[in-house]
């Protein structure tokens, strides 16, 4: 089937012959390629190392030890014990994080500001709130692994350093998000209580908390699940639990044990994810 020839259009306005965005595109493409090169140099990015014969042999030997996965009863019992310990570290860490976060949230939230009831917040309270926020930022920014390293030096190996590291970092995270949740909710009830003379704590318990309890709990449960993953990572620097056993097995090239522990870890995280999602759904 042939198309009829195109009819001549109206008196033609001259079409532009160049794409005006072309130069900009070429520039950005070139700039990104130019930037990529030093990145690859700095990270010693040499993918061919992976397939060098010597490395391949070591990798192959290690991978070969993965199967069969270790499944002796004592090993499985140890894995179960360490998994419980991981969950315990996460739970204890989260509890302490709550203890840290709640007072800091109360100190930093604008909704409980008495001076802001009648116009702008006064200078003193404003800077106090900013300082508390700064503290929360510092707590959040230091990776928990670094805290764990420091605490291992102070209190020795074991779960205490893990619990403290999680407590500090997650305290910062919880404090920040709690503050955001409290401020984004409806503050009318709370402000009315403050206006009528109740204290800040009263206003919190009778106004802010009931309103936002579901969201706060939901986020805390979600963070608890993240804490379980963190506590496995912290085990690599001596905080005990599944991570520490995994580190030991990896150093000794016992692939079967690593495989079992990885599988248990993935299952544990999936279970925690399920529990957390279920809890969050029933909270509404």
């Amino acid at each position: 089937m042939e198309l009829a020839p195109r009819a001549p259009l109206k008196a033609p306005v001259t079409a532009p012959d160049r794409d005006p965005a072309w130069l900009a595109r070429v520039f950005w493409l070139g700039a990104s390629l130019v930037l990529l090169w030093p990145l690859m140099v700095a990270t010693e990015f040499r993918p061919w190392i992976l397939v060098e014969p010597a490395n391949l042999k070591v990798t192959g030997q290690f991978l070969a030890t993965f199967l069969p996965p270790a499944h002796s009863p004592e090993f499985l019992a140890m894995v179960a014990r360490e998994s419980w310990r991981t969950v315990a570290i996460a739970t204890a860490g989260m509890t302490l994080a709550l203890v840290i976060a709640l007072p800091l949230t109360l100190l930093s939230t604008r909704a409980l500001s008495v001076s802001a009831l009648s116009g702008r917040m006064a200078r003193g309270p404003f800077w106090l709130r900013q300082a508390v926020r700064g503290l929360l930022i510092v707590l959040r920014s230091v990776p928990e692994l670094v805290w764990a390293l420091v605490f291992v030096r102070v209190v020795g190996l074991g779960p205490t350093s893990g619990v403290l590291a999680i407590a500090l970092t997650y305290g910062g995270m919880l404090g920040k998000v709690y503050g955001e949740i409290l401020e984004s909710g409806d503050v009318h009830a709370t402000q009315t209580l403050l206006r009528n003379g109740s204290s800040r704590l009263q206003a919190f318990f009778f106004g802010l908390l009931p309103q936002n309890a579901a969201e706060l709990t939901s986020y805390t449960v979600y963070r608890w699940e993240c804490a379980i993953r963190s506590s496995v990572v912290l085990g690599f620097v001596g905080a005990g639990g599944l991570g520490q056993e995994m580190d030991n097995s990896m150093k000794m090239f016992h692939g079967g044990e690593v495989f079992t522990m990885l599988a248990v870890f993935v299952a544990l995280v999936a279970l925690a994810d399920r529990v957390s999602a279920g809890l969050r759904k029933s909270l509404g």
């Binding site: 700095a42 315990a88 230091v142 390293l149 620097v237 993935v266």
Partner: protein
């Protein structure tokens, strides 16, 4: 007997604190049990931590951090470590964005009649990549790729591919279907439909996810060095092992600055993109 209602009806008692029929009660009870069991089974060294002795030794320990070592040669080493960490996080994130996009295509059902073979398998792969933390990947890759930032980059790339792949697949599935449907009605091949209709719509969101993930990856890259993957983490664990607290303080300061800088860059880039 006079059955008229009493002038003052009796007060109702408040509901009991724990009612066997109330699910929330059981939940709170289970939670309390979990918390108590955690603290009890861990056998934490409270005495060691909270005693006056411990406070004093912690104070001494804290004092060793100051003054931080700011000698020029050490600062140069820290600068090199910072650059290495930054490069690890950036390259790892870029590789993960590419890998994530490639894997997101089979992992998403782009339209109602898309048979999407391999969706289940790809999603499983992405979940597996995501579930294993970066540090564990780094530990495994050290065996294959040796010490140094290469394994760190690969570890970040693998884990982040799982994360971004899943996010990208969901973004692709939620893209408005109109433009793609019109091109499909014209019989355009699948790849061209994706490039001309689906990708232009989701690209800003994909870039936003990638930049947001970079903020996380800079923190992860900073600590991967602790297992030997180079960068600031390796410097940190080296000097902490030798109890050079002044140098450790400098490295910690550099880490904080780097994290803050990347956070600001990422936020600024995301703002610029949605102008």
């Amino acid at each position: 007997m006079d059955r008229s209602p009493a002038a003052n009806p009796p007060y109702r008692l408040p509901p009991p604190l724990f009612n066997a029929r109330c699910r929330a009660c059981w939940f709170s009870a289970a939670l309390a049990l979990l918390v108590v069991a955690s603290f009890w089974s861990l056998n934490l060294q409270w005495a060691q931590f909270l005693s006056l002795d411990a406070a004093r030794s912690m104070g001494r320990f804290g004092a060793e951090f100051f003054p931080p070592d700011t000698s020029p040669e050490f600062l140069r080493k820290v600068a090199v470590g910072t650059w290495e960490t930054l490069a690890m996080s950036a390259l790892g994130t870029v590789l993960a964005a590419a890998g994530g996009l490639l894997l997101a295509l089979p992992a998403s059902r782009l339209h109602a009649d898309d048979s999407a073979p391999g969706r289940g398998a790809t999603r499983l792969l992405l979940n597996a990549l995501r579930a294993i933390p970066e540090l564990v990947w780094a530990g495994l890759l050290l065996i294959a790729a040796g010490l140094g930032p290469f394994s760190g980059t690969l570890a970040l790339a693998l884990h982040t591919t799982g994360v971004l792949g899943r996010l990208f697949a969901e973004a692709l599935e939620n893209a408005p279907p109109g433009p793609a449907a019109a091109l499909r009605a014209q019989g355009v091949r699948k790849t061209a439909v994706f490039l001309y209709a689906t990708l232009p719509q989701v690209l800003p969101q994909l870039l936003s996810y990638t930049l947001y993930r970079w903020e996380n990856n800079i923190r992860a890259a900073a600590v991967l060095g602790v297992v030997g993957a180079g960068g600031l983490g390796q410097l940190l664990s080296f000097h902490m092992g030798l109890f050079h607290m002044g140098k450790t303080a400098t490295v910690l300061g550099a880490m904080l600055l780097l994290v803050a800088a990347v956070d600001a860059l990422s936020y600024g880039a995301r703002r610029w993109m949605t102008r």
